[in-house]
């Protein structure tokens, strides 16, 4: 068994939440740059320029990329040959607490659906845990904004609605969301499993590398087709029209019940802030 010190989990979580809120990763910046070069609408081009200028200002380290510094989502993978003393969830939340304080990040978590009292330190993080083989701990950490999350949805289609049913659902969802979720978007889609599994698949999909594709031939084609069809919707950056509505479409799937075709769409804004930490 490999012994892990939970203080390292706290330190790395803190570092990660600060880093992602001030720096967009290079592959995303280059996708936005390419989109800007191709964009034919003058207004949309100027919005894409603003987005690029914004990340230049933010990476100086004084002002976060976006005022919505998000809810922290952690996909936590714990190797079966790892041991530690104490509570790993507490260690992650301590990292969030310190990071949001020392990084001058907005605290967006409220305690209760109706009294809306702020927890004042952006905890608790939403943590999904998986046991994996090996002696590592992997944390995929995101700061997920409320605007794009509000436009996300889970729908239970019937099996015979098939690929066309999924396409229609995705296109309608993106079109109806318009400028609200801050396009250009990264669209994470989960197909299969059951009600809650599809949502988690969609969330995991938005953590994927921007330049990868599904290994499944049918799913890869659906990713490519939806990428083109979403951009053909003409929603455009911030909903003002144009060629750039999405930057990537990522689909994860899972076996499901014979009666079901669950589809979850998790929308990610252009300020896709996430990173991976391996211990």
């Amino acid at each position: 068994m490999r012994q892990i010190n939970l203080e390292d989990i706290t330190k790395l979580t803190k570092k990660a939440v600060i880093k992602i809120n001030y720096n967009l990763n290079n592959s995303l910046v280059s996708l936005i740059q390419k989109a800007k070069e191709k964009e034919t609408s003058v207004l949309s081009k100027s919005i894409l320029s603003d987005i690029l200028e914004n990340q230049e200002i933010a990476k100086e380290g004084n002002i976060p990329l976006c005022q919505d510094t998000g809810v922290v989502v952690v996909l936590l993978e714990i190797g079966n040959q790892v041991s530690y003393n104490g509570n790993i969830y507490d260690a992650i939340n301590e990292g969030v607490r310190l990071g949001y304080k020392e990084g001058y990040l907005r605290k967006s978590m409220v305690t209760h659906p109706f009294n809306r009292v702020n927890t004042k330190d952006n905890t608790p993080a939403i943590i999904h845990t998986k046991i994996i083989q090996g002696d590592k701990i992997i944390m995929k950490i995101a700061a997920k904004g409320g605007g794009s999350e509000n436009m996300s949805k889970v729908t239970m289609l019937t099996p015979t609605e098939g690929i066309e049913g999924v396409k229609k659902l995705v296109l309608d969802t993106i079109f109806n969301a318009g400028g609200r979720p801050c396009p250009p978007l990264i669209v994470g889609i989960g197909i299969g499993g059951n009600f809650e599994k599809s949502a988690l698949l969609a969330k995991e999909a938005i953590f994927r590398d921007l330049d990868d594709s599904s290994e499944d031939v049918i799913i890869k084609k659906l990713e490519d087709d939806l990428y083109n069809e979403i951009n053909d919707l003409g929603v455009g950056p911030m909903g003002v029209g144009g060629d750039t509505t999405c930057l990537a479409v990522k689909i994860n799937y899972h076996p499901m019940h014979i009666a079901s075709l669950p589809v979850a769409i998790n929308i990610q804004c252009h300020s896709a802030r996430h990173t991976e930490v391996i211990l």
């Binding site: 987005i51 004084n62 990329l65 907005r106 409320g146 003409g234």
Partner: protein
């Protein structure tokens, strides 16, 4: 491009047409969900709504030596119903992001007001156009409190104008 100085008059509103870039200078106020819910029942607001501009934003905490933290717009649709009584009291310009309800748009036209959008997710860039910020109401709301902002050339686009046009083509 149009330069707009506060407070806003009815003549200013007439000049603003969908798609145009607007640079705002002067004093504007922040308010989002919870501040709206309180403002509509407020007998004595700490600022004059007449001719005012409200920016839908909840900034990040400011660092020492800075006017404000990251300050990009939040989604406007959540304020659609709550904006109506404020427009009736003279609110002229709202700055946010995304499309809004048809009911809101018609009320906005009736009240001779406009809706502008700023670039969502450009909180660092937009904060550089804010020279000063001062807490004026509802300190307990934290990031959702009402702040008075002094802005210079704050960049927006006209999203809905009084002539019935919308920047959101096919998706009003």
């Amino acid at each position: 491009m149009i330069r707009l100085n506060t407070p806003i008059t009815n003549d200013n509103i007439k000049e603003l047409k969908v798609g145009e870039k607007v640079l705002i200078s002067g004093t504007i106020f922040t308010a989002r969900d919870q501040a709206h819910a309180r403002l509509i029942n407020e007998p004595n607001p700490a600022f004059d709504l007449n001719g005012s501009i409200i920016f839908y934003v909840g900034p990040t905490p400011k660092r020492e030596g800075f006017a404000i933290g990251a300050s990009g717009p939040t989604s406007s649709y959540r304020m659609d119903k709550l904006a109506v009584p404020l427009m009736e009291q003279g609110l002229k310009v709202m700055i946010g992001k995304g499309n809004r309800s048809e009911e809101f748009r018609l009320e906005m036209i009736k009240n001779n007001a406009v809706y502008l959008i700023a670039t969502g997710g450009a909180g660092a860039l937009l904060s550089s156009k804010i020279l000063k910020s001062k807490l004026i109401m509802y300190e307990d709301l934290g990031a959702e409190a009402v702040y008075e902002l002094e802005v210079k050339d704050f960049p927006c686009f006209v999203a809905y104008d009084v002539y019935g046009d919308s920047i959101f083509k096919g998706n009003q």
